[in-house]
Symmetry: C2
């Protein structure tokens, strides 16, 4: 048996945490540090890390855990309160970036309006539709604005945004699996959502039953993980939908098991941050081969970044203004939605796996995601402090 | 990408937990249930599970985590108190089972006194030298005898037993790596212990330093895991010593970082029980191919079981009696040491990997380990309740 994988795991853990702490120290998100660690250890850096079957599978479990946690952390009650306004902001926050960023990709790399090329452009666009709410939450929290009306609306919009993004991703992976027949794809996606609802209701009751007596027993957490893995598998194998979609809905189902929700989320988070998500971030960094960057890719990255920022600000601010926010509040909302993070990276990863995103443009995509993550707190602080106090 | 491994992981989690709960219900250790799940899902049962590179590596991490936890849970203070008596009991508890169980193996399967054959017999013997303290602790606890003088001595002896077992394993794996030159092997093993002491002192101070401010930060737990993986890798790659030896000493070093010890142990335990250790137990069960059992193997299993039980009782009781225990106390101590569990299974696993244990006898070994685990609580309760009250 070859034991090198133990050493590689240790190196990944050491460096992602070390770089994460450094970026945290200079008020950047830890994810950025973890990505940098991957880039530096990977082929564009010292070449210490090489991809292997084990690392790929471990990274995939990392993605699944992150999406499960995103699902279980969703506050459905909060979403009901802010309701329609947040929903409209979320829709605009998905559609506008998809169109604008997709258009930028199309302009740079495609010249024929075929369905296939449009699908590819949509994939790139969809990378930038998912908001990473963590960064925004932290900034709002530090400024004491998290519980303001704008803050809660912003939060709900970002969460609905995640759900919409996942639905869009389901369609894109469905269509890009190359089965040709769009009716079949639609039937399968419809089948997946039906399956999720039926399984969801059954499992919700099962877990509520188990949680009555054993809400903080290991069994609940272990079974929740098994449920999450099975949903991921079924989504991918039977319905041609991305595994992370299954994981997200498994989390969403578990967030309705009030008694065990916190306990399960905590255990899953430990498994995620102790091993699996560092491997995921490092593997994205590893795949970001900086050596392919040339003038064109660099210009593409800059334009893509601008599109990613402006599309969220324009789309979400317009939606906010139209649904009754003041100009200042709607601007803050739009800027708060600029943050991108793990989910964007996962969608990019899925796009590459499905052959819909050219690995050569991954560096540009990752750079844009990193820059969005870095710029959001700065822009948000600026916009909040320059205007009247938020209600 | 093939997503079947997600389903296999889910099946392993579901069934090991389910069977574990059933065995717990009928007052047997959960480990037995997990092993049964592996046997039933594996080739001797429904054949659902097949070994793969990913599962082998995941199981190995499970073993490493279990050994790290055994190390970090060691109470060095307690060991100092019970001191010499516990040490003598532990030595006898390692030597007598090794000799007796090794002799049983030799009698059944070898006929020439070569060094190689003696090494093979020692490997089988060493499987039965490590006590699984968990089962005994639980029984003593239920009977309110854990804090009795006999109870604490028994506990210390079982822990020292683990350390001695690990040292023996280091020598056995060293010699069985087939490098021929015994001096070189001794130098390497000596080198490993020197390395462990130097690295141990450095890392202990490093972790104590980090723990001053961040004793309950994620970073401490993540770095402890990285440290454990590196120690496992170095033990195996540079010194020809088993990786679990490295993991155990990493745990032993971390148990000296008082401030973070509990926090680290808790996080590592979550990672272990949520995913990795169920995969290990299932994989041992899977490898236990019941179809190879014939008359000879069955008789061997019965004799081996008797040797495993009697050797601990005779060895440890004699040591206890000679160091001043009453006959009753020494009998209880001997019976308490009969329990075998994870560590025995791991050593068996290592023996197979090193080519020193024939996979065909694994079912007999696993059956003996399971029976020891099942009989200990029964015998212990009987022996305690039949005699005068324990001091």
């Amino acid at each position: 048996m070859d034991y090198t994988y133990l050493l590689l795991l240790a190196i990944i853990l050491l460096f992602t945490k070390l770089f994460g702490l450094v970026t945290e120290k200079i008020h950047m998100p830890q994810v950025v540090g973890a990505l940098l660690a991957g880039i530096i250890l990977g082929p564009s850096g010292f070449g210490v890390l090489e991809s292997s079957d084990f690392l790929v599978k471990t990274a995939e479990i990392g993605v699944i855990l992150i999406m499960f946690l995103a699902g279980i952390d969703t506050d459905l009650e909060e979403m009901k309160h802010t309701g329609l306004q947040a929903f409209i902001i979320a829709v605009m926050g998905v559609v506008v970036p998809m169109v604008l960023c997709g258009a930028v990709y199309f302009f740079f790399f495609e010249d024929q309006f075929t369905v296939y090329n449009l699908l590819k452009a949509s994939f790139v666009g969809s990378v930038f539709s998912a908001t990473s709410v963590g960064i925004t939450v932290e900034t709002l929290n530090e400024m004491g604005k998290l519980k303001s009306k704008t803050g809660t609306t912003l939060l709900s919009a970002a969460l609905i945004d995640d759900i919409l993004g996942i639905v869009v991703l389901s369609f894109l992976t469905g269509f890009s699996s190359g089965e040709g027949n769009p009716v079949l794809v639609l039937v399968k996606i419809g089948g997946f959502f039906l399956f999720t609802i039926v399984v969801g209701v059954v499992m919700m009751h099962f877990f509520r039953y188990v949680a009555q007596e054993h809400w903080h027993s290991r069994r609940v957490a272990v079974w929740a993980l098994a449920f999450c893995l099975i949903m991921s598998y079924c989504a991918e194998e039977f319905f041609g939908v991305a595994d992370i979609t299954g994981a997200f809905f498994a989390g969403l189902i578990m967030c309705n098991v009030a008694k065990s929700r916190k306990f399960v989320a905590k255990k899953m988070a430990v498994v995620s941050y102790m091993l699996f998500s560092p491997v995921f971030f490092a593997s994205v960094g590893m795949k970001t081969d900086l050596r392919v960057i040339n003038g064109e890719i660099l210009i593409f990255a800059v334009v893509l970044l601008l599109a990613a920022i402006l599309s969220k600000i324009i789309g979400c601010s317009a939606a906010g203004r139209l649904t009754g926010m003041t100009t200042h509040e709607s601007l803050v909302t739009g800027i708060g939605m600029v943050a991108r993070g793990e989910v964007a990276l996962m969608v990019a990863q899925k796009g590459i796996n499905a052959g819909m995103i050219n690995p050569a443009i991954l560096p540009a995509v990752v750079l844009s995601v990193i820059c969005c993550a870095l710029l959001t707190p700065v822009l948000l602080e600026l916009s909040i402090s320059k205007g009247p106090d938020l209600a």
